[in-house]
Symmetry: C2
Subunit: 281 residues, 2 copies
């Protein structure tokens, strides 16, 4: 990945879940590299998981195997932890912070508005690299998809939205995207927030977001859903059990190496597509 | 359904499979109605099925229960049958012909270029109503999707296309659409034929096509995929195991009552949307 933050923010690695960790571990390896490689100090937030310490220990082992100088559990299991001086200090010395999977609402409930929330945003603006997988990916946006059936005929009210941690403004993220057939769920969310760009991230795949650019890495694709110019939706007249109608949505399906400009809402094509290595944007 | 053929052709009821037949049987009932209701004479072509006579007998019972005057098996189990005078005569006295599910290639192999093929097109142009479910829906187009994994990361070569029966020009049809997660498969097909409009029909749902208009009936939705203005695809450079990239595809998701103009490539919105009853287009 050669997307470089222009505005001083660290990259955000948005992983669609089920990333390889015992083989090549391409995505986690890239996260470690972005966080400094052999100098990387990775803090792990497993708040989403009900078995937080086990999950954090596993990731800690992986990140060390991948060459990080340090990898440590931030030990966030309630809001008190997230308001504690220890967590703040741990983020202070991290070059990267990783959010595990689990339940995204657990993350926002434990972290939202705490000192940890504040320091994460502050340090991220100074270059701290963030990554999250599955639930840890979903909460990266300002509006977050909480639930909804995986394969659905999209009846009214099936997609629950909540406030996310807002590390990436202007997007809506869904994960396990192709594997769980979530396009319609993402469409439902985007219909309600047509100014936000929907990002559907497949398993073992990531969108590496840097400022207003993203680049895809990993085994699958990122589906970009752009509903800004939607021509029709019945969203506002939907009654219970009604089906969503939505017309004129633009989609882009991007495998590894492809880039997308979240500001222009267009893929970055031309000389540096596909998979242009070494092009500095 | 109030879409009326302008050009003399009968309607084509494109069913996404698994249509209700023992309950309300809304879709099959509508087909019988379009074919003349109490005066309907329904010919059944079960060529797609390996248990053709059993399947035809079941549908025959349903169509009679739904009030058709007659419902009879055309008994097409090989090309000889499809070239026989009996089948031609049976189509001659039908007001509607129904294609069952099974394997779409069995239909095109048995019927393609036969006298039955010719008389079906001739009578359809004179008003014969057609319907097909699942495989019987897939073969309605000129280019037909034969196979490909249901949930796929869309590697090169996974979607097989063949020649269909071409009862509906300018479209590509996929069925069991949401249930089997087939959007990417349809995208792959449409990327190869961007002038054709992709129609993804959910189970127990139908697109009733009449000239250049379609209307959706049934429980699910029809997903319309329009790739005419696609901005980028790597289709022509794909190597084995490469993933498809496709950008700038427009989609429309239409539940029952919604209409789409295949010529303008736009949903029919305005006063008669949604589900405007009694509006004659």
């Amino acid at each position: 990945v050669d997307v470089k933050p222009r505005d001083g923010h660290g990259q955000v690695v948005v992983i669609g879940g089920a990333e390889d960790w015992d083989g090549e571990a391409e995505i986690l390896r890239e996260f470690v590299r972005l966080a400094g490689g052999a100098r990387a100090r990775i803090g792990i937030i497993a708040a989403a998981s009900e078995t937080a310490s086990e999950v954090a220990a596993s990731y800690s082992g992986v990140f060390r195997r991948l060459g990080a100088a340090e990898a440590y559990d931030l030990k966030i299991v309630d809001r008190k932890d997230a308001d504690g001086a220890e967590a703040v200090a741990a983020v202070g010395r991290a070059s990267g912070v990783f959010f595990t999977g689990g339940n995204q609402v657990r993350i926002t409930r434990m972290l939202g508005g705490t000192r940890l929330d504040t320091v994460l945003h502050k340090r991220h603006a100074e270059g701290l690299v963030l990554a999250g997988t599955s639930a840890g990916a979903a909460m990266m946006s300002a509006v977050m998809i909480v639930g909804g059936p995986p394969v659905s005929t999209l009846r009214a009210g099936v997609v629950e939205l909540a406030r996310g941690m807002e590390f990436i403004p202007g997007v809506l993220i869904d994960q396990h995207f192709e594997e769980r057939g979530r396009l319609r769920r993402l469409l439902f969310a985007v219909a309600q927030h047509p100014d936000d760009i929907g990002l559907g991230v497949d398993e073992n795949t990531a969108a590496v977001v840097s400022g207003h650019r993203l680049e895809v890495i990993g085994a699958g694709t990122v589906t970009v859903v752009d509903a800004r110019h939607l021509t029709y939706t019945n969203l506002n007249e939907l009654k219970a059990d009604d089906l969503l109608a939505i017309c004129g949505v633009k989609i882009h399906i991007l495998p590894a190496g492809y880039r997308f400009d979240l500001r222009n809402r267009e893929p970055v094509t031309g000389a540096d597509t596909p998979a242009a290595e070494g092009v500095d944007i």
